[in-house]
């Protein structure tokens, strides 16, 4: 097999991989992500990668902060709510609508817990 054939195979393979990834993403990422992809150009060649990387770094930090806040003997739900609010903002800006929806549900839970002043009830699962 010559270099040209290998190159063509590689291009075909990455194209099919991208098509498969798009099918997976569609369940998790909404039209906002499509808009972000359109912002990538020669002036911002790595825009999507940079934005997704920032989102993962942000998410890890926020989830850790939420976990720490929830581990306290007396949970400050306002503090948890602040972290969830930030997570909701960044997830909606990148198009991660499922994460955004879970955050919205979680925020309602935190508001209710703050009103009730109790830590009872179940916390919505965050994958």
């Amino acid at each position: 097999m010559d270099v040209g054939q290998l190159q063509r195979q590689f291009i075909d393979y990455t194209a099919s991989l991208f098509r498969e990834m798009k099918k997976e993403w569609r369940g998790f990422l909404d039209d906002q992500f499509t808009q972000l992809r359109k912002l990538q150009d020669e002036n911002n060649p790595d825009f999507v990668f940079e934005v997704v990387s920032l989102f993962f770094v942000d998410s890890e930090k926020l989830v850790n902060n939420m976990a720490k806040a929830l581990e306290q003997s007396t949970v400050e739900f306002k503090q948890v709510d602040a972290h969830v609010h930030q997570f909701k903002g960044s997830s909606s800006s990148i198009g991660a609508h499922r994460v955004k929806n879970v955050c919205a549900a979680f925020r309602s839970f935190c508001e209710q817990q703050n009103i009730d002043g109790s830590a009872g009830g179940s916390i919505p699962m965050v994958e």
Partner: protein, 143 residues
């Protein structure tokens, strides 16, 4: 509530400065979250505007106090040191007539109304997207 449109201007913001259509529209993005800063900056630059960043309301106010001016201010609500409501109130009391548009994760009517009452021209719920930016820039060009 998704947005409050350009019909609801306050008396302090009715007078708009005349924009020179030959130069680029200057935009100040006031946002503490680095991810959203990056997205909004690239989006606004793509629309041909000149973008500067401030990471909180105080930085935005200080920029205007130092003599900077912008055609459009896009401001988040919740930020450390000085939030969007306080920053907008201060800018309007300083006599700033730039278009100020809120972009917030808050979506309760009362929260958006409180933000609008500070002196915004309009308020949008995040995420900012091409459709919302087009509406804002068209409004800016029409005044």
């Amino acid at each position: 509530m998704e947005k409050m449109g350009f019909g609801n201007v306050t008396s302090t913001s009715k007078t708009m400065k005349i924009i020179d259509t030959e130069k680029k529209i200057s935009v100040l993005i006031v946002e503490d979250d680095l991810l959203i800063q990056k997205i909004h900056k690239v989006m606004m630059t793509k629309f041909g505007t000149e973008v500067q960043l401030a990471t909180n309301g105080k930085e935005a106010v200080d920029l205007f106090l130092s003599g900077a001016s912008f055609d459009l201010v896009l401001t988040d609500l919740e930020m450390p040191i000085m939030d969007g409501i306080e920053a907008t109130k201060q800018l309007r009391s300083m006599g700033v007539t730039s278009m100020i548009v809120g972009v917030t994760s808050r979506n309760q009517d009362s929260e958006i109304q409180a933000f609008m009452n500070a002196g915004l021209n309009a308020c949008y719920v995040k995420p900012l997207n091409a459709e919302k930016v087009t509406v804002v820039l068209n409004e800016l060009k029409n005044i």
